[in-house]
Symmetry: C2
Subunit: 405 residues, 2 copies
């Protein structure tokens, strides 16, 4: 086998490995960064960008620049990145590639032939004291042949550090990498959509379960997000934090089994009624029990344990301390915080300081002290969540309108 | 560029296209067939098989054979296929490849060196009067390097029809195709798992919504499956049939908003109570409204319209004929069929013939006549669904145990 062929063969096998690695990444942001990083490594490019198609525009989604990030330090690259969109026309380089679906391999971005429809925008270079020279821009075509985005590689670098043109012989391979990347992006979006829909379903049905109750749809969303944020603060990994986001909305699903006469009673409950009301924890756990779904498994745990207290005086089992599942201890704090700080028909809202004081006073008796401290330390994020899911923007079922009877 | 290199290059680009196509298929069965088909096309192989790893075994999952399917006609290939599993040991060819993770390229399966640990099982050839000669077997390694299965290609065929050995020079490419296939299989399984979990969540929360009601968890599963089967019979595409499977369980979710005094009343409802009860359609639609999820969109439609009647005497809107969404007409038939044929506390079960007679009598007044006829034509499948989700195997919340009050 010739040496040229041997080297080509190695590149191909490398490319397949890259394709496989990309296909296995399901987080879109992570995937986009990885596409540019791998494409740069494959072509020894100093810099690279990725544009995603959104309707008739290209959105600048990723930018990496080795020279500038070395010059500016680890955070410098982020400062360089300013999002913008381009119309898909032949006037810009990325637009031209999206329209024509052809590769564009420029030896020098400052020496574009006069007759070309596109021009190079030098503002980035001027702002950052950078010199763009060679540039390879390829379309990202998905499996249906649609342009999903544009990949742009900048300043191919020879082993001696000199900037050289991108090899013609590799163009096909880069184009093929961009297409594998496009399908991976398509898949990541599908996964994200399925997840979004799954969460929407959980929220709606959790809301439905509280249809007759005083709680609002926004209360469910807030508790879900407070709980996830608190779990993260307590050191949970990203996958478990996501589980918590999905599982916590269902913590009160067992209220569905509580008689109207108790659930909707305006005054104080009698001891017998209070006991009946407490069954919402076990009813909820029974509704959610025995599933293969990790989300439902965690929600069962939360439904069962979110009314246990740190000192063992809670229900349904009177568990104490770390014998209470941590997921339940987390939701207990998030749920009570939101109840105290929110205005309800039967009570006014407390201020943030006052609410925190109550939680802290009850840390060690009602609440897990570690969870309360982490929650307090996370207060900026909590208040942002509260702002984002305000009660004013109620979804339809938040206003209970049970049939009369 | 040399001719050899040019041809290699073409193969590589073809291979990438195959990888992209595979990655875009999310249905596992379809994907497995496509992997074997594409790998055969790529190597001009007369036959091919795919084994999937399951614990310590390999399960024979796909078998394709051009010669035999031509000889036996379109259904013949199916008759040839008999599922079996192999232990993962070095004694079989597929097992050897799974254990060693090496390619095995045999010029003739009947001329295996005496010292090889594996042997060729000739029973398929004898049974089908086929002659296996050349055979290329490669492991399917996923992105984590784990053996997900084994791909086996049989009888590479030259343009003149002669069986020849598989080219050594292509082994790497076939191996790489098998790995791209492995990641695609991994992704298809992930998607299937997410969907299964999504359906489980929908079932549980639909069950929860009927917690106090007389309906059982199995009733919800049966109506879901009858409705999907009926939609298929009426010519809906696979994706819409799946939507129906997911959407129909939620048709009564609005019962959550009905007061206990009406929902649980043992005797006959007064006209006022009946009217209040009818609100479960609009309450359900409101709970499900305004989602981006196609499943929730369809379930909103079904919740709203499953009590409309063909002659316009139904509720809530009194729509008639084809003005009623077809999804609602489908669920109406499935829901009433299951109610009639099932035993409840307050009534005995009717027989199949008697139930069908009622549906047919009410076709054109209550029911869409086309839906009733399609449902009747589908009775074998309906009875299989009924058998599969019998009331005896009740899930936990099927036995209502509301707190007293």
């Amino acid at each position: 086998m010739s040496k040229e062929m041997e080297s080509f063969r190695e590149q191909v096998l490398k490319l397949t490995q890259v394709g496989i690695a990309l296909t296995a990444v399901h987080d879109l942001d992570q995937l986009l960064e990885m596409i540019v990083r791998e494409a740069r490594a494959f072509t020894c490019a100093d810099a690279g960008s990725l544009y995603l198609r959104e309707g008739d525009s290209l959105r600048f989604a990723v930018s990496q620049n080795e020279t500038l990030s070395r010059r500016l330090g680890p955070d410098g690259e982020d400062r360089l990145f300013s999002p913008f969109t381009l119309p898909i026309t032949e006037h810009s380089i990325a637009g031209y590639v999206a329209v024509t679906r052809k590769n564009l391999n420029l030896p020098d971005a400052y020496a574009i032939p006069r007759e070309a429809p596109y021009g190079f925008n030098t503002s980035f270079d001027e702002r950052n004291d950078y010199r763009t020279r060679s540039m390879l821009t390829v379309p990202m075509l998905d499996h249906r042949g649609q342009v999903l985005g544009v990949l742009q590689l900048i300043n191919a670098t020879a082993p001696d550090g000199e900037v050289v043109p991108f090899e013609r012989a590799r163009e096909d391979l880069v184009r093929s990498l961009a297409s594998q990347a496009a399908v991976a992006v398509h898949n990541a979006r599908l996964t994200a959509e399925i997840k979004r829909i799954h969460l929407d379903t959980i929220y709606r049905l959790a809301m439905a379960a509280e249809y007759k109750d005083k709680d609002t749809a926004q209360h469910i969303r807030r508790v879900s997000n407070y709980s996830a944020a608190l779990a993260r603060r307590l050191g949970w990994g990203a996958a478990d934090v996501e589980l918590m986001l999905y599982a916590s909305p269902m913590h009160d699903v067992g209220k569905i089994g509580i008689a109207d006469a108790i659930l909707l009673k305006p005054g104080r409950l009698t001891p017998e009624e209070r006991e009946a009301m407490q069954h919402h924890t076990t009813i909820g756990a029974r509704i959610l029990a025995g599933s293969e779904s990790p989300v439902l498994q965690m929600s069962e745990l939360v439904a069962y344990s979110h009314h246990e207290k740190w000192d063992g005086t809670g229900y349904p089992r009177g568990l104490a301390g770390k014998a209470i599942p941590q997921a339940g201890r987390i939701v207990a704090v998030a749920d009570v915080f939101d109840a105290l700080i929110s205005k309800r028909v039967y009570k006014g809202a407390l201020g943030v300081e006052e609410t925190l004081e109550i939680l802290r006073k009850d840390a060690g008796t009602h609440f897990d002290p570690e969870a309360v401290e982490a929650f307090a330390a996370n207060m900026d994020e909590n208040l942002a969540i509260r702002e984002r899911y305000r009660d004013e923007e109620k979804a339809a079922p938040a206003q209970p309108a049970p049939a009369s009877g």
